[in-house]
Structures are given as C-alpha cells and as structure tokens.
C-alpha cells in the first residue's frame, strides 16, 4: 500500500493518468492492428486471372520473319534469324492492346508507336513493350512465362 503511494506521488504519473494512458494506448494499438488486418483482407491474395505460363505450339510451326499474335494471351510470337521472342501487346502507356503495323506496333488509345522489337518510336508510351521469357517445354512445345520479363532483344534459340 505504502509503495503504491510513493509511486503515485512521482511527478507526471499518478495511477489515474497511467491507467488512462494504458487504456487509450490499448485501444489505439488494437485499432491499428485491426486496420492493418482489414487492408490485408482486401489485398488480392489468390490470382484468379488467366494462367501466366502458356504453350504456343512447336517451334517448327513458325516461319522465319513471322509475327504471330496470340490474342487471348495478349502476346505476339516473333521468329527471326536470331530466334524466338514473345513480346507483350499490352501498351506500356495505359494498358490498351496494341495492333500490328508495317513498322511494328501501334496503339489505338493515345497513339503510341513501337518498332518491330517493341521500342517506342512515337507517342506517350514511357518504355518498350515487355519481352517475356521463352523456353522449350518437356513435350517440345514453346513455353512462354509471362511472369518473367527479359530485356528486349533477348531471343531464344530453338
């Protein structure tokens, strides 16, 4: 009992202030934890989108110099002397789907233009089109992993 009294006389921290601070602190911390929990709840955890790894048929099906658009995958398969490449057809400006043109690619939304390798030649696009990793699946088909980006100009020799 006496001990408590001594402590209570210390400046700035009587029992009431202490308990109030403790209580308010507890409420504050709990609110913070709850807020974080709610945010985490809303954070997309499961990816319901289309699969990121796709198969694109046998390498022999592509002739040299071809630009084959796989619309549903939003990717174009390019084959030239250097090998295979998978270039995204999602405009790096604001996400429209670009179309192919003689010079390369052209976006209908705000007029960005790209050359055959996806480098920007005009319009507001800030960076070249994404290049995805190409490899050969065990069954001999081309495999494209859209979650792995490679530097533009990285061709895959089949």
């Amino acid at each position: 009992m006496k001990k408590t009294n001594v402590r209570m006389q210390q400046p700035g921290m009587d029992r009431r202030t202490f308990l109030t601070a403790l209580g308010l602190g507890g409420v504050g911390v709990s609110a913070l934890i709850a807020a974080v929990g709610n945010l985490l709840y809303l954070k997309p955890a499961v990816d319901y989108g289309p699969p990121t790894v796709i198969r694109a048929g046998r390498p022999g099906e592509y002739k040299e110099g071809i630009k084959e658009v796989l619309e549903d995958q939003r990717v174009v398969i390019v084959r030239d002397k250097k090998g295979f490449a998978a270039i995204s057809i999602t405009c790096t400006h604001l996400g429209c789907t670009v179309g192919t043109s003689d010079a390369g690619f052209e976006c209908p939304c705000h007029g960005s233009q790209y050359d055959n390798d996806g480098f920007v030649t005009g319009g507001p696009a800030p960076r070249p089109l994404d290049w995805y990793q190409v490899s050969i699946a065990p069954n001999g088909e081309l495999e494209i992993d859209k979650s792995v980006k490679v530097p533009p100009g990285t061709f895959f020799k089949a």
């Binding site: 809303l42 954070k43 997309p44 990816d47 319901y48 989108g49 289309p50 400006h93 604001l94 996400g95 429209c96 939304c109």
Partner: protein, 261 residues
C-alpha cells in the same frame, strides 16, 4: 354512467371518423396545413425529415438567381439515382459473363427496364455536371469565405465521391466502353508514385480488368461510395445551418472569430 352520456355517444359513422382522425393526429400532430406561425414552426421542427431546415430562412437565400437551385438539384439527382440504382440491382448481376446480358435484358425484356437504366445513366451524367456547376456558383459568390471554409472542403469531398461513383458505375455494364475506360483509368492510378501500383491492385483485385475488378467496383459503387456520400451530405447540410444559413451580403466585414460556431 347515466342515460344522457349514453345518448351523447357519436353515431357509428362518426366514431369511425373520429378513429381515423385519431390516427391522423398521431401522425401529423399539428393539423393539415399549418395556418399560423406556430403551426409553420412545428411543421418543420417536429418532422424528422424537415428539421434539417431551420424554421426560418433569409429571403436572400431563396432567390433562384442566387443559388440557381444547383445544390438542391444535385440532392434530387442523388435521391433519384439511389432509387433507380437499387431498382437496377434486382436484375443486375456483377459477373463478367452475365452483366452484359442483364443490360440487354433491361433494355428489351424487362418492363420499363430501359426507363430505369436510362434515368440512372442520364441522371449520373447530369449529377456530375450539376455538382461542378454548384461548385462554380459557390466560388463566384464568394460563399467559401469564413466561416464556410470547412463546408467548401466537405464539398470537394462530395465532388470526388460523385466522380468515384460515376467511374465505378461506368464499368458495370461490361461493354467495350466500360472495359477500356476502366483499363485506362486504373492504369493512370498505377502511375502515382509509391501508392499507385498497390492502389491499382486493390481496385482491380489483380493485375488486369476482369471478374475480380467487376466485383470490387460493384461493391464500391452500390455500398461504400453511396454510403460515404450520404454521410458527407449530412455533414454538408449540418454545416450550412451551423454557419448561419447560406452566404449573405451581411456576412461581409464581420471580424473573424476564433473557434467553431
């Protein structure tokens, strides 16, 4: 009890009328149409719905040429949008494969479906326009000056909520217009430094506009944003009263005071 009181009882028909009158009086305490100042006062402040108004208002604030009625029109539009929106919810389905079909059905199969959809759509466009014009009115009449600074801020929030409602509503029909407007719009959000990319993922529930995005936009559009808008609309109205009614030439040159009023 004696005979004379028995005889004084009203005839059955009158008793019915009296009963009806009793019910009526319990609903509308102060008569049919208020006749005098007392009745007019009671009519306003005894009613839950009317008592957001003060009992008396200044003549100046009633002049159509002053407000152009824009705030009231915006409120009316919001009420109509809420009503038609809830009605649309009976048929609408936030599914990427179903939403568009439901829009077609609303247009052709459902009785008066096209009316509800059209009213909702045109009302939404008008609401954006009217809210912007309302803001311009407030500016050009200097109505944001003390003590109404805070209500100007609430108003900006209401404008942002209105834009948010229209943006989220825009995706729901799941047509070409909807899909690409939202693709472009959320990509813009992705450019914001630091917060942009996670905000975009939160909005879309993934990396592309798809089923997840549709559900998220739907919840925002029919629950969260209208709820927030209702709350801040209430704050907006409450501030008007606390700030002494609408702005008035008499508000000029009053020395600023500290503290809230």
């Amino acid at each position: 009890m004696n005979d004379s009181t028995q005889n004084a009882r009203p005839a059955p028909r009158n008793r019915l009328a009296e009963f009806g009158n009793h019910i009526y009086r319990s609903l509308f305490r102060y008569g049919r149409v208020p006749q005098d100042a007392e009745g007019q006062s009671y009519a306003v402040f005894n009613s839950l719905f009317l008592h957001i108004h003060p009992v008396k208002v200044s003549r100046h604030s009633l002049r159509f040429g002053y407000t152009l009625g824009l705030g009231v029109i915006a409120t009316a539009l919001f009420l109509v949008l809420t009503f038609t929106g809830i009605w649309l919810m009976f048929y609408y389905f936030p599914s990427a494969s179903e939403a568009y079909n439901r829009m077609l059905d609303l247009r052709s199969a459902v009785d008066f479906g096209f009316v509800l959809r059209n009213v909702h759509k045109w009302g939404a466009e008008l609401m954006v326009l009217v809210v912007i014009l309302h803001m311009a009115r407030v500016f050009f009449t200097g109505a944001y000056k003390p003590p109404r600074e805070f209500n100007w801020l609430v108003g900006i929030l209401l404008l942002l909520l209105t834009l948010g409602l229209s943006f989220t509503g825009y995706l729901l029909p799941w047509d070409q217009l909807a899909f690409w407007a939202i693709t472009v719009g959320t990509s813009i959000a992705g450019y914001a430094p630091v917060l942009g990319p996670p905000l975009r993922r939160f909005l879309l529930g993934g990396d592309v506009v798809g089923q997840e995005a549709l559900v998220r936009f739907y919840v925002l559009h029919v629950v969260i944003l209208p709820g927030l808008l209702s709350i801040f609309l209430a704050v907006h109205f409450w501030r008007i009263r606390k700030d002494g009614g609408l702005s008035h030439p008499d508000d000029n040159d009053i020395p600023p005071k500290g503290g809230g009023r």
